[in-house]
Structure formats: C-alpha cells, structure tokens
C-alpha cells in the first residue's frame, strides 16, 4: 500500500515537473502540441495525487499503524470520522491536501480555459512550478508514506481536535489558501505572455471570489470551533496562526475591489498584479507559519524541518513576481488618471489602502518577534492592544467607507448630489448613535462608533435596494440583472452583522468568576447561576465530569447548563467542555466554563455574558449567500464580455 502511495506521488512530481518545463518551452517556442501535452500532464497529476490521497485515507480508515503517519495521528479507539480527518491533522497529510487541491483546481482552470490558448500558455508552467514545490516536499522531505514496525496502538488525536469542526475547518481554509494560486498563476501567466489587458481578471474573477469565500468561511468555522471547544470564551485571539488566515483574506478583499476599477476604467493595473502576488505570498506564508513553528502560538506546532524550505519558496515566489512586474512595468502603465478624490474610484482606492495597511500591520505584528530577535537578540512580541489599535484605526474607517463607496458616482461626484444621497443614512446613524449614547453605550467609544457606522452602512445598503427596486419593479429582477453588485451588497450586510456582533460581544461583555459549593449561586449581567450537582459519564474514548448549573433570570428558570471536563486516557490529557445558552431575546450567549472541579465537589465557575455574539455566526450564512449570488453564472454579463472581446484578436 505505502509503495503505491509513494509511486503515485513520484509520478505526480514527474508530471508537474513536465508541466513546468514542457509548458515553458511550449509557450516560449509557441508549440501547440507540446502546450497541449503540458496541460494534460497537469490534469493527470491530479489523478495520481488523488490515488496517493486515497491510499492515505484507506490507511487511516483501517488504522494501518505500520504507516508512521497513521500511528502518530490516530489510535484504535478514535472514532472513524476523526481518524479520516487526521488526513489534515499532521504536516505530511496537510501537504498532500495542498497538492491535491492545487492539482484539482489547476486541472479545472486549464480545462475551462482551454480555448483561450494565449491566456493559459504561460499559466500552465506557473501552476506546474508551484505544484513542483509541494510534490518535492512530499516525495523527498516529508512523506506521508513512511513505514515502520506497527506499534501496539497509535498516539491518538489531541482532544481539542476531536470535534466535528475538525472535519470542515481545515479543508475550507486549504480550499481558500490554495484557491488564491489560480488568480496568481493567471496574472503571472498574463505578464509572461505580455498581455496586460483585463482578460486574466475576468477569467479568474469567480476563482478569486470562491477562494475568498472559502477562506472567510474557514476562518469563521475556526472561530466558532475555538468558541465552543477551546473554552476561553472568545473566538479570535490575534494568534499568529489565526492572523495567517486573516492576512490573505484581507489582501484578497482588496483585490476583489480593485479589479473592478481595472475592468471599468482600465486603471490600477500595476496595483492589481501586486495585490494578487501579495495575496498568494501571504497564503504561502500562512502555510509556512502554521507548519514551521517559528513563532510562539497557542496553535503551537513542533519545530519542523519544513521551515527553511517554505521560507526559500516564499523568497523565490516574491523575487519572481516582483521581478516580473518590474520588467513589465512599461506595459502596465495606464493613461487613465484619477479624476477626482470624490468618486467611486477614489473610495475604492481608500478601501484598498486601508485593507492593505491592516494586512501589513498584522504582518508586522506577526513577524515582530523574529525581527527583534534578529536585530538585537531579544525576542519582543506585540499582543492584543497593538492589534486592537489598528483594527480600530483602520477597520472603523473601512466600515464607514462600505456605506459611502456604493453611493458615490464614478469619475466625479458633485458634493451637492452627495449631500442628497447621504441625508437618509447619515440621519439614521446620528439617531442610532444618540439613542445608544443615552442608553449608556458610551462606555466603549470604539463599540459605539462601530454601532453607529453599522447603522449608516445598513441604511445605505437598504437605500440602494429600495432605489433599485423602484427602478426595476421587483427585487428578484433587480438582483438577477446585476448579481455581482447586489451580491456584493449582501456581503456588505454580512460584514455589518459581523461588526455589530464583534463590537457587542467584545466591547460590552461581562465576565464573572467564583468558587462555588453545591447549592451556592452567582450573578452575571442579570442572570443567576446556581450550582446544583455533579454528573459523571463514560464516553467512547473519554470520561466526562460535568456540573449541573441552573440558570435563571428575574426569578424564573431559563435553562440548565452542563460545563465540565473530559479526561482522555489514550492521549493522557483533559479537555474543557464549555456549556453555552443562546438567549433568543438578546441574541447573546451565557457562556460557562468549569475552570476547576475539586475532589470535594468545589466548582470554580467562570461565566461570560456576551451580547449579540450570535450575529457573528449569522453573518457567516449571509456572507455565503451573498458570495453565491455574486458568483452565480450571469448570462447578461457573459454576453457583454463576448461582445467586448469580439473586437480583440485572441
């Protein structure tokens, strides 16, 4: 079995190497048949990588402990679902998943764009080159198919990974990370072929959108996982590994906006190729961070031999893209200039600068320990206050811009027209702000600002829908006529929900901690929690002890919560089982953690009351819905594009 996996991987390596070398030669010498065979090699490499992946999955399924990877990440008592998810629980498997998704995406992108020969001529070798790196790692540096004498039982899986989210969160993130390869490869392909029009953008628009959606959803899933499983009462901690996923998402968000200006006005060509390279480099950097263990993180991965390889790869990719963009600068320059600082283009530009500034300040925070170590030999790190400061100073203006941008005209907007457009949203937000201030929300100025700006954006989105509807007669027709635009507005609405949820649950939360004896109770933000008794249960691979907590509000019973701890004998470790009550009236949560349960039954209970936190998760659903609307095939758009390119020789 392991031999089959190894052979399949070697074949993948040969195929992607052929796609790189053969594809380059074909594009350079303009050989049609060679180009065709390089494309086929890329498609075939997906098949061979799939074979390797199936081998690993079968080994995980059978708990074939002679595979070192299987022995290290599963155990005989581990439930099947988690055993299969161990595919991405370790380094070797994660690399294989990268290669599997990459070759899958690459094949699909090549097959879909086969007719645009010129467009993909240089894209194929770029994709091949990226795949070569991962295949090289898998074949010669970090193979999932190393075998050894089978131990009596495997090492098992860390308890906090034994959660349904383990099945969905990592693959989603990988689908996002790897998805950014496609727009990057098409951009580099276009530059290599000296084509600097917007065809590569049009061809990859949905890819970028899909990758960006996967990254966003993957992150929210991770946040929810941390929230319900890790048990510290939060969902985002500015941990380097969390930041690793946030940075490419921010860069991709900037890219999704700035390409619209290139499509509409032919501007920002240099900026766009730079952004797409940045997004891709950040996604490789994210994988590097997750896998190298160079930076202290609560995700703490062991130091691995891969760090140097990844660093080298990042350097190669960065040097390659910077050099290529530099060489092609004369072709990328545009004559169109920004006409006014008050125009749609300008607001897009502000949005881009803020997003990139946020991504880069986060990057600075992440690498700060490495830099200080290198410069003066002492590691220093930045934490929550640093990130919060920049989230407030860049994030809040971004939120406001989201309400302004869509209402400003292209090219040049008159101030008088602007005043008229903004009258309603401005009034709504001022009233909201004043009412909230009266209710005592001034305790957190950033929170109050976030609420006020959210009201502004929500009003301006609603206004757009109302206006559009009165022009077309029906909401459905309005959206169908311009899916991309209205899908975008729905995503904006999701971001508003997210902002409100984050502000509510962080700026206005209540935290209480107390040691309780049976029968004693404690108060938190209007709720009374009474410790009734202890319960013990035997699970398939763990023993669980939990407290019975009676929750009431103004004298009447609300719910019963069961915070506790589980002990996993195989893994020799414990895990926190938090218990959460979702209050439908406040959209907030009562979050309970059993910090300690002593032998005599004393319970150290921690309670967090987090208002509006459920809006964060609701935002995820709205976000996916909006992205789908924007991604949905659009007949009108296709026809417009066909007309546009009919004139351009292909």
């Amino acid at each position: 079995m392991a031999d089959l996996g190894r052979a399949a991987l070697l074949l993948s390596f040969a195929l992607v190497a052929y796609a790189l070398v053969g594809g380059s030669l074909a594009a350079w010498k303009r050989r049609r048949r060679l180009a065709f065979s390089a494309q086929n090699a890329l498609v075939a490499s997906f098949a061979t990588t799939l074979v390797a992946s199936i081998v690993l999955w079968i080994a995980l399924w059978r708990r074939d402990l002679s595979f070192v990877y299987v022995a290290q990440h599963t155990s005989r008592s581990l439930p099947l679902g988690y055993a299969l998810s161990a595919f991405w629980g370790g380094q070797e498997g994660s690399l294989l998943l990268w290669l599997l998704i990459l070759t899958g995406y690459a094949s699909l992108a090549v097959l879909l764009n086969r007719r645009s020969r010129e467009l993909i001529a240089w894209t194929v070798p770029v994709l091949g080159g990226i795949a070569v790196f991962f295949a090289l790692m898998l074949c010669f540096v970090s193979s999932p198919f190393t075998t050894a004498a089978a131990p009596a039982d495997g090492a098992g899986m860390v308890p906090s990974l034994q959660n349904p989210y383990m099945l969905a969160h990592p693959p989603m993130l990988y689908l996002g990370y790897v998805g950014l390869t496609i727009p990057f490869a098409f951009a580099m392909g276009a530059l290599l072929a000296r084509r600097t029009d917007e065809r590569w953008i049009v061809a990859t628009r949905r890819w970028t959108l899909a990758a960006w959606t996967f990254l966003g959803v993957g992150q929210l899933l991770g946040a929810h996982w941390a929230y319900v499983e890790i048990g510290w009462g939060g969902y985002y901690a500015w941990d380097p590994v969390e930041n690793a996923a946030l940075m490419p998402w921010l860069a991709a968000t900037a890219f999704l906006h700035s390409v619209m200006i290139q499509e509409k006005r032919g501007m920002l060509k240099i900026w766009n190729v730079t952004l797409v390279s940045l997004a891709f480099c950040l996604s490789v950097f994210g994988t590097f961070l997750t896998r190298s263990g160079v930076i202290n993180s609560i995700h703490s991965f062991s130091q691995s031999s891969l760090g140097g390889w990844f660093l080298g790869f990042i350097v190669v990719v960065t040097v390659f893209s910077v050099a290529l963009i530099y060489v092609r600068l004369p072709l990328l320059r545009t004559k169109t200039k920004l006409e006014s600082l008050v125009s749609r283009e300008a607001t897009f530009l502000y949005n881009n600068l803020l997003l990139v500034a946020l991504a880069l300040t986060i990057l600075w925070g992440v690498v700060y320990p490495l830099l200080t170590q290198a410069v003066n030999g002492e590691t220093r790190s930045v934490s929550k206050p640093y990130y919060d400061f920049f989230l407030h100073s860049f994030g809040l203006p971004l939120l406001l811009l989201m309400g302004i941008g869509p209402l400003v005209a292209w090219r040049r907007a008159s101030l008088r027209a602007l005043g008229k457009t903004f009258a309603v949203p401005a009034a709504v937000s001022v009233v909201t702000g004043a009412v909230l201030l009266g209710l005592g929300f001034g305790s957190s100025p950033p929170g109050l600002l976030a609420y006020t700006f959210s009201a502004f954006v929500a009003a301006s989105i609603a206004l757009e829908f109302v206006r559009g509807r009165s022009a077309t007669g029906s909401l459905r027709r309005l959206v169908a006529r311009n899916r991309r635009r209205y899908g975008g507005y729905i995503v904006h609405a999701a971001i508003v929900l997210l902002a409100i949820g984050i502000a509510g649950s962080s700026a206005y939360q209540t935290i209480r901690e107390r040691s309780l004896q049976r029968g004693q109770s404690m108060q938190a933000a209007g709720y009374t929690l009474t410790y009734e008794s202890l319960e013990t249960r035997q699970l398939q691979n763990a023993q669980q002890t939990s407290a019975v907590i009676n929750v009431s509000r103004s004298g009447s019973h609300v719910t019963t919560l069961h915070p506790g701890k589980s002990w996993f004998p195989v893994e020799q470790s414990a895990s926190n089982d938090v218990s959460i009550y979702h209050d439908p009236r406040s959209l907030g949560d009562v979050y309970t953690i059993a910090d300690g349960i002593s032998k005599n039954g004393t319970l150290d209970l921690k309670v967090l009351v987090k208002p509006l936190v459920n809006l964060v998760w609701a935002a995820g659903f709205v976000f996916v819905f909006g992205s789908l609307v924007a991604m949905w095939p659009d007949a009108v758009e296709q026809r417009k594009l066909a007309d546009r390119y009919a004139a351009v020789p292909v």
């Binding site: 202290n296 703490s300 600082l341 530009l349 700060y368 200080t372 220093r380 206050p385 400061f389 920049f390």
Partner: protein, 125 residues
C-alpha cells in the same frame, strides 16, 4: 495622492509605536532577572511540583529555560484559568512582572504550548 495616503498610514503607525512602546519582551528564566519590574512574557518549561490553587491564593511552580543548560529557575505565582494541558514538563508562556525574585503573573495569562499537537511527543512523553 497614493503617496499621501501611505504617509498618513505610516504616521499612525509611528505615533502608535512611540506611545505604546515596542512590544513586550519574550524571555526565559535565565534572563528575566535583567527585566525586574518590567512587564514581560516569560517562556519556559515547568519543572518540579506544582503547588497551591490557582483559584484560591495562587498556584506556585518553577520554570526553567526551554533550551540550553542554564540552571536558573524562576518562581512563578499564578492565579486564574489553568489550561487543560498545563502540568510539569510542559512548555508555557505567561505574562507578568518579576518582583522580589518571584514572577507575579497576570491572572488568566497562562498559555501552554503543546508539542504533541501535530507530531507526537517523542522527547517529553
């Protein structure tokens, strides 16, 4: 225009770093003595017995450097939530200040580094 915006962003950045200082040092027990009275992140491995209750009067333990042969041990006093994975032999990070030879940790700042998460514990099982 772009230059102006970049300058503005840079200005915010510089203002921040000059006001808030430049991060918290991350140090091990062998060098923490040089930072007495300062707010630091102490990184090290738990050695010996863990005594006391983190929820009543504080938990006490000794910390040594993760790597190297330095014999220095730092006494840590901690209260607040204790992560599931905390025990003797684990690598941890804790924020606080060295006062009169004892590292007084901020409540709830204890984070464990779990070396067995992605590759099994070979050396510290």
């Amino acid at each position: 225009m772009i230059a102006l915006s970049v300058a503005a962003v840079l200005a915010i950045f510089i203002v921040y770093t000059s006001i808030a200082g430049a991060g918290t040092p991350e140090i091990g027990p062998s060098t923490v003595g040089r930072h007495a009275g300062e707010d630091v992140l102490l990184v090290g491995t738990v050695v010996g017995r863990v005594a006391g209750d983190a929820h009543a009067g504080g938990m006490r333990f000794l910390l040594k450097d993760d790597h190297g042969a330095a014999a220095t041990r730092t006494r840590v006093l901690y209260s607040g939530s204790v992560p599931d994975l905390f025990r003797t032999g684990r690598q941890i990070v804790v924020e606080g200040t060295l006062r009169n030879g004892t590292f007084v940790a901020k409540p709830g700042s204890l984070v464990t580094k779990c070396p067995s998460k992605y590759t099994p514990a070979k050396s510290n099982a």
